[in-house]
């Protein structure tokens, strides 16, 4: 960038105080950076790094509890940190715009999309209704929404998540602002939709020379879209630089650690014995939901159909797919948390798909599951020790025996055995997930199901939990069924991969084979959409 250009956004020495009683004093501390015209700057950080706080401070939309205490925010040279609310309102959507993470909730459900964009124009311009409508149709066309006229009159709930995010982008860019702030705009979207939205943002900003402040936690997205990157940790700027430099030659240990934690999308060659006994086999497994009603025809949804899987001892099978692909349905059927409607599940030689709840109980021990949300998967009212020993005691272990087992398992998952009498809220997300693993292992299962078990975790924590899972698999010669939407994670942990789409398995094979030379069209599209697929994080950090 040439020096003569005035940056669209310049943040100088910004500090934002947290309310008293929080775990630290500042949400953001002495952060400075600039965004130049036509440039995409990514703010990257794990949860709690203060990246979103910066975005909201710039827009003046900060929650009242958070107070900026020092610094300046210059929008084209004008300090907006001290500007009155009325001035900020004038600037919003005209000079600076923002799009948000949750397209499903960011639009008013009772107004049509057209009306909502129209509001921007009627607030900030003196255009007559016909001119406004023309302008809206034009921007809807620019964000590549099909049938703009129909979309104009549609309510948000009639559109998909990706379409809603396009509406948000249209709304943000309709008045050609100089700065666009995007707060994790693709995090809630499926990977294929994500790729389209990222492409759209890059195209539109390049065309108009808009400066973009892009907030994300995902280094894949960074590699895809950023010109420059700022890494944040606990509200402080760790380092900043051009994207290639930060990703390939980070100077700070924290950045190095973060980047090396990003799983590579290329599967590692894993020396697995392929002679293990089959632990689980499904035969044409299916789950159909049917809603009955008096007047309408009974609607049936095939959440999963004709799923044939096969897992041996000591082996990890991954099921990957986008939301609604049926991957979790399969996992929950196998754990018999829901009852499958078709097909068979063989656990060893026992068929459990059609077994009555009473007969099933002795077999429950053999399949254990770890859930996605570490904050909801343990009863908050009982100690983690009680949670762990509950299962073994159901199966006849004495309390002392169960406690002894719990203590040794805490060591297995690398937690302090003396913390068994603590409550779940006293542990962090990653620690809770370890405890959930310990609880599952306490049952001495044959099959461990991990249902998006690392998806809610920050990348550095995610890496540790993945390593732990893999270690345990080897040590206990466990069969693992690993459900994930994250291709990188799947590439690193799975021996075999089943790709699901619309309730069916579309491709099934060894990880190397599926990732290396996908055959199915959907699988190809899915991999092509993976952000940062051309960037091999593992290798870069090793270099």
């Amino acid at each position: 960038m040439s020096v003569a250009v005035q940056p669209v956004l310049e943040v100088r020495n910004l500090s934002v105080a947290l309310p008293k009683g929080a775990d630290r004093e500042h949400a953001v501390e002495k952060v400075s950076f600039t965004v130049n015209p036509g440039e995409i700057v990514c703010l990257v950080g794990e949860s709690g790094s203060g990246k979103s706080v910066i975005a909201f401070t710039v827009m003046g939309l900060l929650a009242k509890a958070l107070k900026p205490t020092s610094g300046e925010i210059l929008l084209q040279g004008e300090n907006i940190l001290t500007a009155p609310e009325s001035r900020l309102r004038e600037l919003r959507c005209t000079r600076m715009s923002m799009i948000f993470q949750e397209p499903m909730t960011a639009l008013n459900p009772v107004m049509t999309c057209g009306e909502q964009i129209d509001e921007v124009l009627s607030t900030h311009t003196k255009l007559d209704p016909a001119a406004r409508k023309a302008k809206i149709i034009a921007i809807l066309t620019r964000v590549k929404l099909p049938e703009p006229e129909r979309i104009y009159a549609s309510f948000p709930h009639q559109l998909s998540g990706g379409q809603r995010q396009r509406i948000m982008i249209a709304m943000a860019l309709v008045l050609d602002p100089v700065l666009l702030i995007a707060d994790e705009p693709t995090t809630a979207l499926d990977v294929t939709t994500q790729a389209e939205i990222l492409k759209l943002i890059a195209e539109l900003q390049a065309g108009q020379g808009t400066g973009v402040l892009f907030i994300t936690h995902d280094f894949g997205v960074v590699a895809e879209i950023a010109h420059r990157v700022a890494v944040l940790r606990w509200g402080e700027l760790v380092e900043m630089g051009p994207m290639e430099q930060i990703l390939s030659r980070p100077s700070q240990p924290y950045t190095k650690m973060l980047i090396s934690s990003v799983p590579s999308i290329h599967p590692v060659h894993r020396g697995v014995r392929l002679d293990g006994a089959t632990v689980l086999r499904t035969d044409k497994l299916g789950k159909t939901y049917s809603g009955k009603s008096f007047f309408q025809k009974a609607r049936t949804v095939k959440a999963a159909a004709d799923v044939d899987l096969d897992i041996r001892r000591g082996e990890t099978l991954g099921i990957v797919g986008e939301s609604g692909s049926g991957k979790s349905t399969v996992a929950r059927c196998i754990a018999r948390l829901i009852d499958p409607t078709e097909g068979r599940i063989y656990l060893g030689d026992t068929e459990i798909a059609t077994m009555s709840a009473r007969k099933l109980r002795p077999h429950r021990r053999r399949v254990q599951i770890v859930f996605q949300d570490p904050y909801r998967s343990m009863n908050p009212r009982i100690t983690v020790g009680e949670s762990i020993i509950e299962g073994p005691m159901n199966f006849g272990l004495s309390r002392d025996e169960a406690l002894a087992r719990a203590r040794s398992l805490m060591e297995t998952v690398r937690l302090d055995p003396n913390s068994l009498d603590r409550y779940p809220h006293q542990f962090s997300g990653g620690q809770r997930q370890r405890i959930c693993i310990a609880r599952a292992l306490a049952m001495e299962p044959e099959l461990l199901i991990a249902d998006e078990a690392v998806s809610a975790l920050d990348v550095s924590v995610q890496k540790q939990v993945l390593q732990l899972l893999d270690e345990i698999r080897v040590r206990l010669n466990l069969a693992v069924l690993f459900i994930t939407h994250d291709l990188r994670v799947a590439a690193q942990i799975c021996d075999y991969v089943a790709v699901m789409s619309k309730g069916r398995v579309v491709e099934y094979g060894s990880a190397e084979q599926v990732f290396g030379s996908p055959k199915d069209e959907y699988t190809k599209a899915l991999f092509a959409a993976a952000p940062g697929r051309n960037w091999d994080f593992g290798k870069a950090s090793a270099a």
């Binding site: 939309l61 639009l107 008013n108 459900p109 009772v110 607030t123 008096f294």
Partner: protein, 313 residues
């Protein structure tokens, strides 16, 4: 849309069925011979025998229910031996004051409660908010007859601005009618205002935390526009729901208010009927109130579709 209405209509059938069974069983649960209970204390044995015959008391209970239900569905609600009239006539005579009271109360209460609730939410945490919320708790806590007598004491007895009690038919003297409605509808309105103001504040506050409100603010809209155009309409559904549920309070309150202000309405009739153990009248009034309650809530359910395009089941 029609499908939605049709399904709602079908859904109220079991509800009204349960109400009918309960009302029917009421009389059968009373200790003593139902025929004698209906006939009242001064009945002759011939009258009792005739009633027994009519109710089919010798038949199995489900047949008795069938006979009773059949009568009800044909609009034959029985005869009040105490008032010496058919129940239908009795109710027709008494319905106007109750209806008038309900409508006046709704107008008074809603026009006060919704603005109060919105202002309280908008100025959350301010003195005004605390004041409105304080009044609302008070409204829940002071029984309506105490409020009624206080109002009578101040405005009718001490100040003499309004008549103490009584009712004038709307067609006879409109101003006289209005004058006599002011105190009763205010009295009855208090608890309703408390309820609706509270839910309005709560729903508006909840909506103000929604993501799309943040979007609206990010568009550069003023707080007033955000509140009126975005928040209020989204808060409408829970507010309407509570208005519907509150109708029950209104009906219960009418019984008390009519007694305090000497309005010759259905509420007063209910009390008179209970005091004289006039069961056909009690049964019919309860049935009537329940049907009105269910139908009003059905209409409110249907009206949701006007406010929220997502509700199309």
């Amino acid at each position: 849309m029609l499908d939605f209405i049709a399904r709602r209509l079908i859904a109220i059938v079991p509800v009204l069925g349960v109400v009918a069974v309960f009302v029917f069983l009421m009389l059968r649960l009373t200790p003593g011979d139902p025929a004698a209970v209906i006939a009242g204390d001064n009945a002759t044995s011939d009258q009792i025998a005739m009633i027994r015959e009519k109710l089919g008391l010798t038949l199995p209970i489900w047949q008795q229910f069938g006979i009773w239900m059949g009568d009800i569905l044909q609009g034959n609600f029985g005869e009040s031996y105490f008032f010496k009239k058919t129940v239908a006539e009795l109710i027709a005579q008494r319905i106007e004051p109750t209806l008038a009271l309900a409508v006046c109360t709704l107008v008074v209460a809603l026009s006060a409660a919704i603005p109060l609730g919105v202002i309280a939410a908008y100025k959350q945490g301010s003195i005004l908010d605390r004041f409105v919320m304080g009044l609302s708790v008070l409204g829940f806590s002071v029984p309506s007859f105490v409020i009624g007598y206080c109002l009578i004491y101040v405005f009718a007895i001490e100040l003499g601005w309004l008549p103490v009690q009584g009712y004038i038919r709307i067609g006879v003297d409109f101003w006289g009618f209005l004058e006599r409605m002011v105190l009763p509808s205010t009295t009855l309105g208090v608890i309703y205002i408390a309820l609706v103001a509270r839910i309005t504040r709560a729903s508006v506050l909840e909506v103000l935390n929604e993501d799309y409100i943040r979007t609206a603010r990010a568009k550069g809209l003023s707080n007033r526009v955000v509140l009126m155009r975005h928040a209020l309409r989204n808060a409408a559904v829970p507010i309407l729901t509570v208005i519907g549920i509150g109708i029950a309070l209104l009906m219960g309150g009418a019984v008390v208010t009519e007694s305090v202000f000497g309005l010759p309405g259905l509420g007063r009739l209910t009390v008179e009927a209970v005091l004289s153990r006039d069961f056909p009248t009690i049964q019919t009034v309860i049935l009537l109130f329940s049907v009105v309650y269910v139908v009003v809530n059905l209409l409110i359910d249907i009206s949701y579709t006007l406010f929220d395009p997502r509700i199309r089941y």
